[in-house]
């Protein structure tokens, strides 16, 4: 683990062609890091995320992704992601589609060093017909059908969290989503944080903490989850999500918005 700026953390750890996971289940979505990836113009990415939202709509709209692995794509509480939807409907984005439980367990399997996840799922559903990576085996004891999908092992996972201590351990509170699993499943991992503190101080004995040795880099990014939120720091900017619908509907409006608000916005 080393402390880096957001710029340097992305420059060092995100490469063209990477399998990249930006995780955050509505909460703690790593927007600042995502915008920096857009500014640095990475290409040919495989984007992984349970709930692709605006940040992936932006990356896909900027032509940075060739493939998306996901389980629910939408603008939560608002509607569609128009850039993503256009890319899918046009056929310019390859998709690998799961359900939430499957994908969460695929991260879990990656974190646990397993080649695949085993669970109950997809029986009677059409999803296995469109995703050849959904397979079935038999329980060696009961003969029951068990579903398998490959473990997720991103080249790099990026998360946002509340704070790091001076050793680079990272504390996550609130809706913790699948971030711990996504970090532990990854070959490299970057955490942006609201702040760095000397010591976490009094806390739950069972706090959700990623030890420094599980991270490649930690970078300070105040309000780094905006327009998502950081429990204990700032609320979700619902208006941003609502306004996004009109921005992303039109290709040119989208381009102009991205130029002004991301490309020329610096970090």
């Amino acid at each position: 683990m080393e402390f880096l700026t957001v710029h340097d953390a992305i420059a060092r750890h995100v490469k063209d062609g990477d399998q990249l996971a930006l995780e955050g289940f509505t909460h703690l979505v790593p927007y600042a890091a995502g915008h920096e990836i857009i500014r640095q113009g990475r290409r040919n990415l495989t984007l992984i995320r349970m709930t692709p939202d605006l940040i992936y709509d932006q990356m896909i709209g900027m032509g940075m992704a060739r493939k998306l692995i996901f389980s629910w794509c939408g603008n939560p509480g608002v509607g569609s992601l128009h850039r993503l939807r256009e890319a899918v409907e046009r056929g310019s984005l390859e998709i690998v589609e799961y359900s939430h439980g499957a994908m969460a367990q695929a991260y879990e399997a990656g974190a646990a060093g397993m080649p695949c996840a085993f669970f109950r799922g997809y029986r009677g559903s059409d999803l296995p017909a469109v995703n050849p990576d959904i397979r079935f085996i038999r329980c060696p004891f009961t003969g029951e059908e068990i579903t398998c999908i490959p473990a997720l092992r991103p080249d790099v996972t990026i998360i946002h969290a509340q704070r790091a201590d001076r050793e680079g351990n990272v504390l996550i509170e609130g809706i913790v989503g699948v971030q711990k699993e996504a970090v532990l499943a990854a070959r490299r991992a970057v955490a942006t944080v609201e702040e760095i503190v000397e010591d976490f101080g009094p806390r739950s004995t069972n706090a959700v903490i990623l030890p420094h040795w599980t991270l490649s880099a930690v970078a300070v990014a105040p309000r780094g989850a905006h327009p998502s939120y950081a429990h204990g720091y700032y609320a979700r900017d619902n208006r941003y999500y609502i306004a996004w619908d009109a921005v992303s509907r039109d290709r040119e409006t989208f381009r102009a918005w991205m130029r002004k608000n991301v490309l020329e916005a610096g970090q």
């Binding site: 056929g91 439980g101 109950r120 029986r123 989503g177 429990h231």
Partner: protein
């Protein structure tokens, strides 16, 4: 969202002013759905209509109901409806919040949820749901958000309640894509696969309440909302809809139900600065 104004009286010409309070068809739908929940339920809640119904139940007749959202919040008591599945409000008012893999493994797959509450873009007569795509999967007319947790909810919960607005585009004879298994394409697949949970036992719409036929598992109309005719239901259903031998009339929303629901929506709108969650 369009909502049919309706009164708490019988259908047909009205010689006198409506006897009950004024309410919309969406309110009727939400109230009817809420009533199906009880204090002992552990309910896995989807965003939107399910969330409104579940919280209405909690704020009226089922104060001890346990609401679970897929973001990991257990036994949550939001004061306002969430705009997203991961709103901070859900976590702040929860008993505790677990990681998402745990939510799906221990709580859903582990069989710790009594009722899953779902919507979808399309439903068929056996309660199968499509939330993936309209048109072909490889050449979509409309790409929808996808399963999210719905596939697992359909499998893991003790039973599934569906809440959807009635329309021929949504109530279809043949799903474009089967995302969430109900009773199966011919009504028997769920049973044949040996799945031990019940699947869809209730489908609440803005027109009626449907329940599966015990023999065929076809969703049949068990109760019409006040003022709704069989013909209206037929028109809005994409298959040759069947009615139970005895079709009841849904009790109209009570004054308390309406007041609590409207106050919930008003608080929600103030909190989000939007009409978020106002679908019902």
């Amino acid at each position: 969202m369009t909502s049919i104004p309706m009164w708490g009286g019988p259908p047909g010409p009205r010689p006198t002013p409506p006897s009950g309070p004024f309410y919309t068809s969406a309110e009727m739908m939400t109230v009817a759905a809420a009533r199906a929940l009880g204090n002992d339920d552990i309910c896995f809640v989807g965003i939107g209509l399910p969330s409104a119904a579940c919280n209405l139940a909690r704020l009226t007749h089922a104060p001890r109901i346990n609401l679970v959202y897929e973001s990991g919040t257990l036994a949550t008591r939001p004061d306002v409806l969430p705009l997203s599945i991961g709103d901070g409000e859900l976590c702040e008012t929860a008993l505790t919040t677990v990681a998402v893999p745990e939510m799906f493994r221990y709580w859903l797959q582990g069989g710790r949820i009594t009722v899953g509450f779902l919507g979808g873009a399309q439903v068929d007569r056996f309660g199968n749901l499509n939330s993936t795509v309209i048109g072909g999967y490889g050449s979509p007319k409309v790409r929808l958000p996808g399963s999210g947790g719905a596939a697992e909810v359909g499998m893991g919960c003790g039973q599934v309640f569906i809440i959807m607005r009635h329309s021929p585009r949504s109530f279809v004879p043949q799903l474009d894509f089967l995302t969430t298994l109900g009773h199966g394409r011919t009504g028997i697949e769920r049973r044949q696969l040996g799945i031990r949970t019940k699947g869809p036992t209730l489908l609440v719409t803005d027109l009626c309440i449907m329940r599966p036929d015990p023999q065929t598992n076809e969703m049949v109309v068990a109760s019409l909302h006040p003022g709704i005719t069989r013909e209206q239901v037929r028109e809005k259903t994409g298959w040759d809809v069947r009615f139970a031998d005895v079709v009841a009339e849904t009790a109209p929303p009570s004054a308390e139900e309406l007041e609590v629901l409207r106050s919930l929506h008003a608080r929600t709108a103030r909190a989000h600065g939007t009409a978020g969650g106002s679908e019902s």
